[in-house]
Amino acid sequence: MTEAVRGLRPLVSDVRTFGLLSATSVVDRYVDLVERTLGPGSAAAGYADRPGSPPDAPDLRLLARSTARMAEAYVGLLGAVAGVVGEAGPADGSAPRGVGAAFPATVPGGRAETTLWLHNPTSTPVPEVTLAATPLVAGVGAAVPLRLDPPRLEVLPARASVPVRLTTVVPAGQPPGTYHAVVVASADPDGPVTVTLRVVPAEGRP
């Protein structure tokens, strides 16, 4: 792992999650501004002044409400992230948080693709990023190969996101079930990405 990315948020991320998190952080910044300008207590909005509050005193009622809202948004966000990536990981920060990707459900003999994004939010390029993947394995021990394209990047530029295509071909006769694999990037070995594939019976078969 390079010094440039040590201690920063996981390098491997999902762009949808990135969009969701970015938008949430922006809207949170506006909540307070709008409350002050247009909410209860603002002269501009035509409300009567509340008695007993000196003009510069912090509004504890609004502060409490804002704090509760932040907590609620955080819980909602975790739920939303879980919905997007399939696995939120431990929330207490004691272990690296996993992110995940899922293939669409696929029948034996079928081919499936999905995309992971390598994301470098720092202002420093990360050289020589190599990706490694385990095969997709099911609880019964069956396995399906997983292919990465590209498996290696000469450089992951600063503030850039690069897609990596994940492909799998499910052999005919593969047992139905849920298969899991792990993808690890050399630049962020503590932030593995779980990948899930659901193999479903072909229509008309048990």
Partner: protein, 348 residues
């Protein structure tokens, strides 16, 4: 009978057209003054007669209905919104030097920049008159709160527009997705989604609705809408989209797509992009714009923006449920819910 095309039903489209007609007729009514010169009325009415989507007033009217009041209660506000939106479009086209609006030549190309700018001023002034009509219908206290929402929105919008123009003038190439989202919150979301929702809920509930969830829902919806607009500018057909293709690239707009390209490009390609952006707009040739478009495709910048927008759109769907949690099921409530996929997945 209901027929389905993707996410959109004919019932939804019929309701959208009805809201649009209502708001547009009311907006047109504020132009019906024989004392005003045709040099103001003709250009001011031009865009109103073109085939716009009418999303903003529809969002306001439907939200008002969903919260329990009548469409008529929100008509002056919806008309003011349509008039202000049209004023912003006229000025925006002049500032950007745009050629097409809704498939036809822009106002300044038809009437010259002086009459076009004046028409934009006139539309904004007429919007004030529409808002004054709220006093009688809603009472002074609620009318004052609606006016405060409009004043705040207008400040945000012009500030956002100034920031974007400033970024282009200063040739900024160090911006991040957060900078972009902050910009579109100001420039687009306030008047496109946040204000229509908040004012609709305010009027519909008689001033009782909690408006904070509307801010969240409005921002997520507006942001996904704007990023889709940026993508359509690159990949949409001129006939359906109604603006000149690649116009944003030619203008050097700091869209999420361009920011991604600047971040993802190799040193050599980034230098090409920066050299393009350093040129005065009139010196950016068609070939140079096409080169830039090729880079955008090659570096996956459009796919990035699409994915980014879909993450926000998911939040919009969830935020809708929170914002409308206290509102019983009804056709207008379902209309607003259906607006989410309509605005995010549109092709025009």
């Amino acid at each position: 009978m209901r027929s389905t095309t993707g996410h959109t039903t004919t019932a939804f489209l019929d309701r959208l057209a009805e809201y649009d007609r209502t708001a547009r007729t009311a907006a047109r009514g504020y132009l019906a003054d024989p004392d005003l010169s045709r040099h103001l009325l003709d250009p001011a009415g031009d865009y109103l007669d073109r085939n716009g989507k009418g999303l903003r007033p529809a969002l306001c009217l439907a939200t008002c209905e969903a919260f329990g009041a009548t469409v008529e209660d929100a008509v002056p506000s919806a008309a003011a919104l349509e008039l202000l939106h049209t004023a912003f479009l006229v000025h925006d086209d002049v500032e950007d030097g745009s050629e097409l609006r809704r498939g036809k030549p822009t106002l300044h190309r038809l009437y010259g920049p002086a009459l076009a700018v004046n028409a934009g001023d006139g539309l904004a002034v007429l919007a004030l008159g529409a808002l004054r009509d709220n006093d009688q219908r809603l009472g002074r206290a609620l009318s004052a709160r609606v006016l405060a929402e409009f004043v705040f929105m207008a400040r945000q919008t012009v500030d956002g527009q100034a920031r974007e123009l400033g970024w282009q003038r200063d040739n900024r190439t160090d911006l991040t997705p957060d900078d972009y989202l902050d910009l579109i919150m100001k420039k687009t979301c306030w008047y496109t989604t946040v204000l229509p929702l908040r004012v609709g809920a305010l009027i519909g509930s008689g001033g009782q609705a909690d408006l904070e969830p509307m801010l969240r829902f409005g921002f997520f919806l507006g942001a996904a809408f704007q990023i889709r607009d940026d993508v359509l500018n690159l990949v949409g057909s001129t006939k359906r989209y109604g603006k000149e293709p690649l116009g944003d690239l030619r203008e050097g707009k700091r869209s999420l797509i361009l920011l991604h390209l600047l971040a993802a490009a190799s040193a050599a390609d980034r230098a090409r992009v920066e050299a393009f952006l350093a040129l005065p707009p009139e010196r950016r040739s068609d070939a140079a714009v096409a080169d830039l478009a090729a880079l955008v495709h090659a570096y996956g910048s459009i796919a990035f923006a699409d994915e980014f927008a879909h993450g926000i759109a998911r939040s919009a769907a969830a935020a809708f449920e929170e914002a409308f949690a206290a509102v019983p099921d009804s056709p207008p409530r379902r209309f607003v819910a259906d607006l989410v996929p309509f605005m995010v997945d549109r092709d025009r």
